[in-house]
Symmetry: C2
Subunit: 318 residues, 2 copies
């Protein structure tokens, strides 16, 4: 039997939290420091060949390594504060280090997130960032807060990162300008930090989409002990992806992964506020489903037909 | 030119600290959270073949991965609080995960340091731990605090880890019982957490010995803009190492690395308190030198003869 990532954690590393308000399982751990202030903590490790291609430009890699961690903070409604970087390098490559550090500091500065320490060593290329964010303990957005009757929303559009990966793998093609946009989505995703902050006291639950919509949605449903209906044809895709055959659109948008958009739920009574904060944060937000009492996930197309979920979501050990 | 670890950091990742009280360069970054409370943060990445042998038992590896990070907290006088673990594994090996997690939690429990989150992924074996500790901002022990006239001390005894490594490499031998003790030093070092806490308001500077006494001492001297005389024959070694030829003793104890003892300085007026806290924390502490105004490091033997420093210290990129 091949143990998967979540089983490894459950079998070997799960314990009841003591100081932590949220332990492993949510996007961030949340650790209460003082009465009004908690620290949201997230670690992500990027391995060459697994999380990025050896051809990924160094600038983009520096950007993405921090972006995926900031995205975890966003999903909890935390404000970025500081991060550490541990870097294992197979050799000292000045061009790589120059590009990587520029990409890293560009996004760090954009979110006022300070590099406060770390480690460099010799070994296979591996980037491990731990990010620390500040959050009021009473405002932490959790995976487990979805309620029956809530609406399900997603930010931005999904699937471009996966389509770009398919192009790199020779399974798809795109003309130059479209390809540049797809590549931007894969290599330099935008963490939805402002949106995450705006969703405090509005969203009932949130998760960032790293492993694919269907898989990540199921984490929310399980943690919240609810089910959902997902309106598959309402899942937003980019203009270029929308011109692709339907099976490619669906594969990319539903199970693609690496989107780093926020999937969240909010009570129906908050619908007007969701529209308002989409406007305020200049973020496209789409209503894509509803939370229901009946467990499990039901996929429904435009014609109202229920689809079989034959999609496998990404797992780091599959 | 081969760039070394510290040059990589200086060239590509160094910036003036903003929120951080201490940035890269000290054992920990220290980040002030509230008026009376700072967070000490340290990340260490362990790579197979570089920081541990592929034959290292999993229990010891779990222990050591956290121990080296706790040792960084100790050097700053911080109290362990929480940590994250990012783990890249080449395959799912139940025996390894069982042993590793047991070793990790054994030391985590001993120091009441809670695992609050992390990441697991597929890739070459790599262990990255970020540890968070609490410290009063006014009590942080820095590398840069050594003053002319201070005494130089070290905890425990040095060199056993290096001698054990030499045995694994076939360059030395030891009988069974002695070998077990050397192996304990290499694979399951004891972080000097209690000593670090006791040294607050006593030590003027401190560093943990990971890269070898001479190299780490020079970090303190440079950061503090001072020099030192080191009484080479007073550097404490274990009974077994003391029976080895003098050149082996000196190589192991002066440049061996992986000791995880604390090297610290204290004003002469604190000498009695140092003796007292050695007693209180049941730690052997040895006076091994003095801090002087003249820059550089002078090695002096029992006969008072000055020795040439022909020792190279460990660097992760050498």
């Amino acid at each position: 039997m091949l143990l998967k990532e979540f089983e490894i954690i459950a079998n070997y590393f799960h314990r009841a939290p003591i100081k932590a308000l949220l332990g492993g399982g949510d996007d961030c751990a949340v650790w209460q420091i003082t009465k009004g202030m908690s620290l949201a903590v997230s670690s992500d490790m990027l391995v060459e060949g697994r999380h990025f291609l050896s051809t990924t430009p160094a600038f983009g890699l520096g950007h993405k390594a921090l972006a995926v961690n900031l995205s975890d903070l966003a999903a909890c409604g935390a404000r970025p504060a500081a991060f550490t970087l541990a870097l294992s390098l197979p050799r000292i490559d000045h061009a790589f280090l120059e590009g990587f550090s520029k990409g890293l500091f560009a996004i760090a500065d954009a979110y006022q997130c300070e590099l406060i320490g770390g480690d460099t060593t010799h070994g296979p290329l591996n980037i491990c960032i731990t990010v620390l964010g500040e959050v009021d303990p009473s405002c932490v957005i959790k995976r487990s807060g979805a309620q029956v009757g809530d609406d399900l929303y997603v930010s931005g559009h999904l699937g471009d990162a996966r389509l770009c990966l398919d192009i790199f793998r020779g399974k798809a093609t795109a003309p130059g300008e479209a390809f540049m946009r797809l590549r931007q989505a894969l290599e330099q995703p935008t963490p939805r930090v402002e949106l995450g902050l705006a969703l405090r006291n509005v969203a009932s639950s949130a998760i960032d989409l790293s492993d694919g919509l269907l898989g990540d949605l199921q984490h929310v449903l399980r943690a919240s002990h609810v089910g959902a209906t997902l309106f598959v044809d309402q899942v937003p895709v980019s203009p270029f992806l929308s011109q692709q055959p339907l099976n490619i659109q669906r594969t990319c948008a539903l199970v693609g992964g690496d989107d780093y958009e926020l999937l969240f739920t909010a009570p129906k009574a908050q619908a007007a506020r969701v529209v308002q904060l989409a406007h305020n944060t200049q973020t496209c937000i789409t209503h894509i489903g509803v939370i229901e009492a009946h467990p499990g996930l039901r996929l429904v197309d435009t014609a109202g037909r229920q689809m079989t979920d034959s999609f496998q979501h990404f797992d780091h050990f599959s």
